[in-house]
Amino acid sequence: MKISTPILKEINLALTVGLVCLLILETLWPGAVLAYLNLNFWLILWFISASIVLLRYKK
């Protein structure tokens, strides 16, 4: 199953906005996010989605 580029871009946008929101919350309120969520996995997913979007554009 191949996901279309606009959907991939939307997934990447969702992960980017989510990551930024959570990082802002963690900065303002230390421990508020990291105590409950592991942002490493979020960052890995974001990196994978961004890499796929970039590779699609390269082609």
């Binding site: 906005v17 508020a32 990291l34 969520l37």
Partner: protein, 189 residues
């Protein structure tokens, strides 16, 4: 905008909103109670492992204390008034004690003896499966909360190499004021 993209956008914005609302709920602790349950198998941001690491070894997925004292910390999003602690352990050595830090720099801990066979002061009870359980109540008014973390100590001065003092689980139920009273207290309303 493509209809499909629009639906996906609505879904992810809703999901993100739910995650942020959930985090706010967890951090504000509106009901004034939160509970941690751990067997110290893995450490996390909220629950540390038993430290120092060279004083514990892993036995069947649990932590066996081979030297004392050992410490752990628990992160709480805000201060609490009381902590009800339930510890399950096996083969406690004489004078096993558990406590909460009042001042770590001055080495001040509010320690309570959980097991003492000699002077009959044991508050631990033997369970049907052979393990021991103790339920202790701590007032946290004087407890030190360093960077959002309460520090706890498990001490057993009479611990011997042959002892099999294994911590099976620790459950900590923090209780304090509900959110409304907390705001009233904080802002002197």
């Amino acid at each position: 905008m493509d209809k499909q993209i629009k639906i996906i956008r609505i879904i992810w914005i809703s999901l993100l909103g739910l995650i942020i609302l959930g985090l706010l709920w967890l951090n504000l602790v509106p009901l004034g109670k939160m509970t941690y349950l751990t067997s110290f198998e893995n450490s996390s941001y909220a629950i540390s492992s038993l430290l120092p690491a060279d004083r514990v070894i892993k036995v069947n997925g649990f932590k066996k204390i081979i030297a004392e004292p050992v410490y752990f910390t628990l992160f709480t999003p805000r201060a609490f008034k009381k902590a009800l602690i339930t510890i399950n352990f096996s083969a406690p050595p004489e004078l096993a004690r558990f406590g909460v830090a009042h001042n770590k720099k001055l080495w001040q801990y509010d320690l309570k003896t959980i097991y003492s066979k000699l002077d009959n002061k044991s508050i631990a009870k033997k369970l049907a499966n052979g393990d021991w359980q103790v339920v202790i109540d701590f007032a946290l008014a004087k407890a030190e909360r360093d960077k959002g973390r309460y520090s706890f100590m498990i001490s057993a001065p009479a611990l011997k190499e042959s002892d099999n003092f294994i911590i099976k689980s620790v459950e900590v139920e923090f209780s304090g004021t509900d959110l409304f009273s907390f705001i009233k207290e904080r802002f002197n309303l």
